[in-house]
Symmetry: C2
Subunit: 538 residues, 2 copies
């Protein structure tokens, strides 16, 4: 196999064994390495990915007839079954996904990668796949961290990845209505660059922003680092068009409607199981006149959480608000400067303001007043800039950790304010105890990244040593956390979707009736069951 190390072309454009383009990778900083070795007692040992030649791919199953029909639908240049293309579309980018790839296991690779040019070609591909009983995995940026791209072949005759990379245009901007019409393959940076020409921004910045696509944001109900100000992705979708085996479906005629249930909200979060999103219309905003990020240190997580709640309930939020708990703050991997003037201890809060200059200044002053009154210590714009500079670095750091025998993974939830403190300690303790029970004590860090009037999200990062079967170990550890989340009545995922990883917990959240409703919708749109089989639906 060749070419896997080169970025570009179709697929994620990332290195096959990790996150992002090769040029961005650096070894683990020595300081972090010592910190983790001393803190966790993990012996350093190199755990590089296998040689690409050792990658185990499944034998391609697609029949000649099916392959010919796909070529008829999109042209021969856009049906690819070389090893490089297949590996590039093998699973997503969870730590489990990467560990399996790094160990040479590419057994979930699709039989072929198909790249339609437009909505009609997507429809044609779906027709071919329904006729030939071939599973279709819609593929945007390939950044799923919940197993959303792992097909269950079941009784089907093969699997293709339907890559929307060629559908990557900003189709138009209705400046008066502040609505942008986008193709699904547009990635975060390209979308912002195209919008900027018109004087607009979307402001949707999840950590996956460099690679994730508009279609993926929609399919997973994504949320970004600045969603306090710009809104969750589902809240900025004005309209959506999807191609399904049952035909085309277009929704969204007004900013709001009472014409029955809001069916857009059924497409958002459908994770490729109902259809392929081929167009998204989005509310955009003028490019902000001013952007400021700053850092604060608060005494403790419980008190700081109450402060965030007060701000959300007074409709007094910054554009960005991110509060690390004591452990994440002490670890200081991403943002805090060891030995800074502000001292250590407590909790780091990042606040960001983006918008009209007058609004930024006024909101910043009002929030700062509340923070100071609560005893927060200002860390200044440097701390904010440092966070903003490193806001997309997490996944690169993970690769460096994986290289030296460490394991790093995240999970997230959200709950109502009155349950949040118990949810935080419950999940943290469950993760800590489960890791200890496995004989691999780890660092369990938490933060709040999204706040609402009625509650907030909680995001956990776990770092520990790798073991012989880190994948199975993580499944057990995550199950322990998921049980706590479900028993607390919180959501199993705030912004990462269900995929296959959260599937066992979905019925507890939406009820058996909810599952039956989703299945009825799927049967209507995808009667043969070719779309992302095994994803979303239990």
């Amino acid at each position: 196999m060749t070419g896997c190390d080169e970025a570009g072309g179709d697929g994620s454009g990332m290195v096959w064994w990790g996150w992002g383009a090769p040029g961005r990778h650096t070894p683990l900083p020595e300081g972090v390495r010592s910190l983790l070795e001393q803190g966790l007692g993990v012996t350093r040992h190199d755990t590089p990915p296998v040689d690409p030649a050792e990658l185990r791919l499944p034998v391609a199953q697609l029949t000649g007839d099916a392959r010919d029909a796909l070529i008829g639908a999109v042209g021969s240049a856009w049906v690819r079954d070389d090893a490089t293309s297949r590996v590039r579309h093998c699973r997503g980018r969870s730590t489990v996904d990467l560990l399996r790839l790094r160990a040479g296991d590419a057994l979930d690779a699709p039989d072929a990668v198909v790249l339609p040019a437009d909505h009609d070609e997507v429809l044609a591909v779906l027709r071919v796949c329904a006729a030939h009983r071939v599973a279709v995995v819609p593929f945007g940026g390939g950044t799923s961290v919940v197993g959303g791209l792992a097909p269950v072949r079941g009784g089907l005759a093969g699997v293709i990845a339907l890559d929307v990379a060629r559908m990557n245009l900003l189709l138009g901007v209705d400046a008066e209505s502040q609505i942008a019409t986008c193709e699904p393959g547009l990635r975060g940076p390209a979308l912002e660059a195209a919008l900027a020409i018109h004087g607009f921004t979307l402001g949707h910045l999840p950590q996956s922003w460099e690679y994730a696509t508009v279609g993926g944001f929609a399919a997973t109900r994504s949320s970004g680092q600045a969603s306090a100000g710009y809104g969750r992705f589902d809240s900025v979708v004005v309209g959506v068009r999807i191609a399904t085996p049952a035909g085309s479906w277009e929704l969204g005629h007004a900013p709001a409607s009472a014409a029955g249930p809001d069916l857009r909200q059924l497409v958002l979060g459908s994770e490729g199981a109902f259809g392929v999103i081929t167009q998204v219309r989005l509310r955009v905003r003028p490019v902000p006149e001013k952007k400021i990020h700053e850092g604060w240190r608060l005494a403790d997580f419980t008190g700081a959480t109450a402060l965030l709640r007060a701000m959300a309930q007074r409709d007094l939020l910054p554009t960005v608000m991110r509060l690390s708990d004591e452990v994440e703050t002490a670890a200081g991997l991403a943002t805090a400067r060891p030995g800074s003037d502000a001292g250590t201890g407590g909790c780091l809060l990042i606040t960001g303001y983006e918008g009209r200059a007058g609004w930024v200044d006024a909101r910043r002053a009002e929030v700062a007043g509340l923070l100071r009154a609560a005893g927060a210590v200002a860390l200044g714009e440097d701390a904010g800039a440092q966070w903003a500079h490193g806001r997309f670095d997490g996944p690169y750091l993970r690769d460096a950790l994986l290289d030296v025998g460490m394991f790093a993974e995240t999970l997230e939830t959200a709950g109502f304010w009155s349950a949040l403190s118990g949810l935080h300690t419950g999940v943290r303790d469950a993760l800590t105890a489960a890791l200890a029970a496995e004989g691999t004590p780890g660092l369990v860090m938490g933060h709040i990244s999204h706040v609402y009037p009625t509650g907030a999200s909680l995001y956990f990062t776990v770092v520990c040593g790798q073991v012989d079967d880190s994948v199975a170990r993580w499944r057990r550890v995550k199950a322990a956390a998921s049980r706590v989340i479900t028993e607390a009545g919180a959501t199993i995922t705030h912004h990462h979707a269900v995929g296959t990883d959260h599937r066992p917990w979905l019925a507890a959240e939406i009820g058996d009736i909810g599952v039956a409703v989703l299945r009825a919708v799927k049967n209507t749109l995808d009667p043969v069951g070719i779309l992302n089989p095994g994803v979303l639906l239990p």
Copy 2:
């Protein structure tokens, strides 16, 4: 038949022939009467409702077995088939509904009215009705204006109204999360009174507020006069519980979630066709420290609309914002004072501010600055207070018009800003032309009552003379307007739901696939098809 004129007890609590309690009715003001007679050339003639004894009710079809089983489910006191109860639950409160009742036609009355005490009794009633193939019309305030309570008996063995009047408690308030848990039969005033004890408000004030219920707000995706500030009803629903023939379904574990599609949005707007809403959890807010309403006069509707757009797109909205077009302003039925200092002409804008005193003052000053810069003339707080005082008076005025041979009805839509001006003139002209073609020229007034960053709602009021068959005439006139709305790509209803009146236009809005999806959901939840048959789904 006796008792129909007395308010209270089950059912809407309104006079059978019109809106609201009897004490609130007054004859049409002489000034308005002359204005309309002169403007429209309608000869005054009294058109009172028939004597209650003349009301034509259908013969009750419920079998003894079904009736006994219903009594077994809820107790004999709560299964009512007297004429008064049946008439009280006959249709909703559209003008067409009232004209038919006033003429003695109560032929859509249910065979019986059933009043369950709680969720479990609702489930029991649904089981009985499924077993006996009896249609169930969920009934809250009885205020539908779109035919949402008009059952299609089809092949079913009878129809009951399932009145949630006994389920009318505020069950609890989570003050920390600012979430109130409500039973569905809570009406607007009772809900606000109960919340006020806890220091909270919902702030949801549609014109039907005095009679409409929480369950109805949810089932119809209601929107209120202060939704610019408090949010549409669908945006404040945190969780919902429904009873369906397939069992109980409860949704809502977090302020936001990525655990698949947001199924709450499938229940909101389901109009009783999927299940009976038995509990709603709502985001509430602290009772505002300060409330101010004021009036402004702007030169023209097009310019004023652009100003509203700018305010919405700068996130600079008042809590209430309502802009009348030139005709509605000139008619001045509700708010403007003939001969006021501000002179006449132009467009009346009502702005309202509710919240913390500091916010009210700051927002009011900022909005006033924008308005003054655009040449708006301040009409002061008197004009605002006058509007607020009369904000629920419309339906009473309609009764007075119906008494003297006039016809008054409304319809509404919403669209994106770039299409809004064309939508306004298109619908206005279609209504005007259709009325003229019927030989009954009328007054066609419009206003914007809800604005969003991407667009706004448009609400039209039509006043003309009654004719021999005003019901059929209105169906033709409304169809002309609906065609324009649909062809413009706007929504057929912004906040009144689909019911039976908008059913012919639903497929144009959500597509044949959307209709198939709704039908699949209905078949899953209500396999026998007993729930509000003929409503919502074409």
